[in-house]
Symmetry: C2
Subunit: 234 residues, 2 copies
DNA sequence: CCACGCTAACTGGTATACCGAATACCGGGC
DNA sequence: GCCCGGTATTCGGTATACCAGTTAGCGTGG
């Protein structure tokens, strides 16, 4: 408790966002990346010390993580990293299917030429990266493409709802390695883009839903194998 | 700053929930009920003093309200009650249409006999209250019915997503008086219930969506009249 | 008179220390 | 062996102080 360095100024990043935001992002990444496995306890004073911040921004970050489903905070018993099993994945995909469908449908109605160009650009990059075997980059571009669709929906509420779900999905993808993303994604994304560009709401919605459904089966199969073979306690 | 009473123990309610939760609920109700109109500034030290709590739980409550869309918090410039206009209502209904549909579909698949009985009980009460002219009570029962459907979906993520949306909807209903709830609701709810009881996912989903769509048009028409006639700055 | 910059007040952001309460754990007495 | 009570841990809540950014007002110089 007395080992505080006097020079704690940019403990995590060095942007000018609030400590709360930085701590929130840092902890979220640690959970997503598996550094903090499910069940791991997070002790406020300990973590605050380690991150070089006080309890207040840490508490605020942890509360946000709880509301986003990454932490379970029991009053006076501490916080633990939430589990994420098959059922949770099912629930997540149920919701994503609807919301991605909605986003795609609205995007088909409202996407601006600029947004369409941006989507096309991302698809091109994603395909190139995928063909070149740069899987990580392709995954990033795919995620950005989804984000663009949500933005193009013109529904800020939808965007706010999806953001935490995306984080959960990223965590799920980490749990199931990277074998689910890549080639088939590109084709589906491209067909989704075509529907959006054509302004065909029905088809855009349907393709987005089908895309999510495909991701669901692939991911869940992977998750099932993963949990079947053995436990990986980092 | 020096008028603190030493006996501040149950400043809001008297349950043993955390101050954060109580303050959150209190402020949320004030916003929903229109006591704090859109644009109203909330000053931390002032409000903390008034509620008899310190700034920390108040801040945490305000952050939650921000994430739920009730407040706009600008760093170092204070918090204001968020506006809620026609566009926001449209966005809200877009999302609710999908999520209520999802909930109803899942409920049709998974609702237990106990849950079905509870729904039926609520519908009966709602109809009685409605026929007796007890509009407030009918509205409450209707809201509870929706909640039951969401619970019966067996998807906790969906429940967590819907909760803040329900609060927003309540705020919208307050803005548009009570003339949109009541008689037609009961019939639609009853038909929705029938579909759920029959286990017909497609129909349950469709009826829920249609129900939300109906609420949308009624509410938006009401909102349009309301904003057309005059401004009500409390 | 206007424009620019400085300063002071306000407000949120953070740090730190403290208290009380609930919990978990451990050891002693029955 | 089991129950009970004490202690350490941890959290919830608070008070207080200080820092930092924002804003508005004022004064000075053009």
């Amino acid at each position: 408790m007395t080992t505080r360095r006097p020079d704690r100024h940019t403990p995590i990043g060095d942007t000018h966002r609030s400590l709360r935001d930085r701590v929130h992002e840092e902890l979220r990444e640690r959970i997503i990346e598996g550094e903090y496995p499910a069940g791991r306890r997070l002790v406020e004073r300990e973590l605050a010390e380690e991150l070089g911040v006080s309890r207040i921004p840490l508490r605020e970050a942890m509360q946000r993580l709880e509301s986003e489903g990454f932490l379970l905070v029991q009053a006076r018993r501490g916080a633990v990293v939430a589990d994420f099993g098959t059922e949770d994945a099912e629930h997540l995909f149920d919701v994503r299917e609807k919301l991605e469908g909605l986003a795609a449908g609205l995007a088909a109605r409202r996407a601006t030429p600029t947004q369409l160009r941006a989507m096309e650009r991302l698809l091109t990059r994603s395909r190139k990266a995928s063909e070149a075997g740069r899987l990580r980059e392709a995954v990033t571009h795919n995620a950005d493409f989804h984000q663009l669709v949500v933005d193009a929906s013109g529904n800020p509420l939808l965007r706010d709802l999806m953001a935490p779900l995306d984080s959960r999905l990223r965590r799920l993808f980490r749990l199931t390695s990277e074998l689910n993303d890549g080639d088939p994604m590109c084709g589906e994304h491209e067909r989704l883009y075509e529907a959006i560009r054509a302004g065909d709401e029905r088809q855009a919605e349907e393709r987005a839903r089908a895309h999510v459904a495909g991701t669901r089966t692939a991911t869940l199969r992977c998750l099932a194998e993963r949990t079947a073979e053995g436990s990986d306690t980092a």
